[in-house]
Amino acid sequence: MRSRKPLALFAAAAFVLAGCGGGGTDASTEGPVTLTWWHNRTTEPMKSKWQQIADDFHKTHPNTSFTIEPLQNEQFQTKVPLALQGNTPPDLFQQWGGGALADQMKSGKIADITQASSGWIGPLAKNADGWKVNGKQFGAPYLMHAVGFWYRKDVFASAGVTSPPTTLDELNAAVAKLKAAGVVPIALGGKDRWPDAFYWAYFAVRQCSVDTLKKAVEKTELTDPCFTKAGETLKSFLDTKPFQDGFVGTPAQQGAGSSAGLVANGKAAMELQGDWNPDVMQALTEDKEIGSKIGWFPFPSVPGGQGDPSVLLGGGDGFSCTTRAAKACAEFLGHLVGDDVQKILAETNSGLPVTPAGVAALKSEPHKTIADAMTKASYLQFYFDTAFPTKVGQALNDAIANFFAGQGTPDTIVKSVSEAAAGNK
């Protein structure tokens, strides 16, 4: 009597797959077209912003209308593969780029927009790279993201930490001071696994040179010793016990007891999270002033590492078009990276605008700091679970999460990638 969902879901999925073989119907994109749009902004204010942006686009392009379907992030993992296997995939859908995009390419339904985007892709510069496969553009970002430490200025001050740490030693010193002051130094949402991965990834980014990082992603392997070194640095960092009790069972974003909630309510001093965190925190506290109490600093440099301390870990939100209405879709993507929309997005603080005009319109201080760090960064390392093919990225996340739970070694983490890439389960 408990849940039959997985089996039923799988069965339904199988049935849909079985029923939907055969070729697609490539409708002409000349006439009026209705674009089915799957995006991941299920909450306000972005949900209505997207609706507004679509409505405005329809006014100036009467031939293009939209059917908008907001979906939770997790749903994309299951719905997109099924939809791409069927005859009626969405015309544009949330696309995080990297290895997952490369996986989806095998469906043959993702539209090559290299030509169609040539008129507007320029200002995006490097930001567009994550949505390229073999040099061709198969989607475009509308917002970029970067991970760094969000911290409570008030809590830092009362614990006697005068300036944000810039090196690992300074971070360890801050952790010690905060502990002495009776605050949880760092909150971590270990239940969700991906926040754990930020730590390993940043230690890898600080230990390895940019060339090594690029090569690792290209070849889907972590053979360079710097990756094992990253695990060892992580181990000694974990040994300082910087997180709250029971962090492996803490959700990242649900409730006041989540990692974001702990910082929002002043029970923890910092959290390594994406630029989206202020919004998440605001929803978890009564404190209306939270926005002005938090600041941001990049992941500290690691002594002896070969990595460039300016490199950021991050990713981006983008969209891919499918082949049915690629022309209208690509035109709309161009609209999203245009100055008007980028300025609207800049005001929502839900990410970093992809064009200089958008970045210039940022108002929030922390976001300006992040955008500045992004501009100065010699390289943006995509989250490894996105950069690698999906099965490899998930295996890596699991190995890291197990490591945080006390299982495995720095070597296990490195090997999880080669084993997953070789097809071992």
């Binding site: 069965a11 049935f15 469906s107 239940k191 099965k391 389960k425």
Partner: protein
């Protein structure tokens, strides 16, 4: 099964042989027509939404397939071998079995006692019944989120324990690898106990008052009445409850997925969370299908054996046909 359908119409002239032959032929035709008419919709649905998907899943499970493009990489039974030889999946099967056994050992006696208590005439009985049944009405996702928040360190559960002087019992409910599975079991019990109680209450209604009275007249104590009169008569209900509970335990998913994602370090992974984690999330649809088929076979074999050996007496006549 066909007893009711083949009953002769009352008007059929029985004694006259020739006429009877014609009637029999006509009635056989009618039986077939009726069968076809009544069974076709159900059969079509069953075939389309149950049998074909199972077949398709079994087919996918023989390939290494990431869900995109045609099935080309035939790997035979490798997916099954990989799953069954993996530590995590073996652990998952173990967790499902622990939950199933605990359900029977803990939830069953608890349900029976509660049902017997709530079957007595006592003040506020309707209200108490509602309280016991209420958690069952909540959706599993809502239950999971509520308990996830309440079980955080320093959360509601810890505070309540401290307030009543049991602070020493406070644990890292969801973070301790040796405890998390039992924490989840406690939440499952909270949620599903009401269902068992309602089922058993219905069963208790079927215990004739005369039998209790007769036992009492013969000098049976209340324990003896319960043990030798009520429990045996509750047998069919208990057997059905065990069946539903074991199948539910084997397919456990939502609660675990929302509360722990199977963690920490796979300490609470079930077969179903493993399926989604390693099938969907990793785009390994062939492998996921193999896991789904294994889960299906385990449930199916259990169901068959249980029907054959435990439920046989209860369902005789209804499922096994008239002798």
């Amino acid at each position: 099964m066909s007893a009711a359908i083949t009953t002769r119409p009352p008007t059929a002239p029985v004694p006259h042989a020739p006429a009877a032959g014609g009637t029999r032929r006509r009635s056989r035709l009618r039986t077939r027509l009726e069968l076809a008419l009544l069974l076709t919709p159900a059969l079509v649905l069953f075939t389309g939404f149950v049998l074909i998907p199972i077949g398709v899943a079994a087919y996918y499970s023989l390939y290494s397939w990431n869900g995109f493009g045609p099935l080309t990489d035939f790997v035979g039974l490798d997916n099954y071998a990989d799953a069954l030889s993996g530590d995590v999946f073996q652990g998952a099967i173990g967790h499902n079995l622990i939950i199933a056994v605990l359900s029977i050992v803990v939830q069953l006696p608890l349900s029976i006692s509660l049902a017997m208590l709530l079957n007595r005439k006592l003040r506020g009985r309707a209200f108490l019944r509602m309280v016991v049944f209420a958690p069952y009405v909540l959706s599993e996702a809502v239950t999971a989120v509520i308990w996830l928040l309440m079980l955080q360190p320093g959360g509601f559960v810890d505070e309540v324990l401290r307030a009543v002087g049991l602070g020493g019992l406070v644990q890292l409910w969801l973070a301790d690898q040796s405890i998390v599975l039992y924490t989840l079991f406690a939440v499952i019990t909270w949620k599903y106990i009401g269902f068992g109680v309602i089922l058993l209450l219905a069963g208790l209604q079927g215990v004739p008052a005369e039998l209790r009275e007769a036992a009492a007249l013969d000098g049976a104590s209340s324990w003896q009445t319960t043990r030798h009169v009520v429990l045996p008569l509750l047998g069919p209900t208990i057997r059905v409850w065990i069946f539903l509970s074991v199948i539910g335990s084997l397919q456990l998913f939502d609660l675990v997925w929302i509360m722990t994602l199977g963690g920490p370090a796979n300490a609470s992974t079930t077969m179903a969370t493993y399926l989604v984690d390693h099938g969907f999330k990793r785009y390994e649809f062939g492998f996921g299908s193999a896991v789904a088929v294994i889960l299906f076979i385990i449930c199916f074999v259990f169901a068959l054996f249980y029907q054959r050996f435990a439920l046989r007496r209860d369902t005789e006549g209804a499922l096994t046909g008239v002798r």
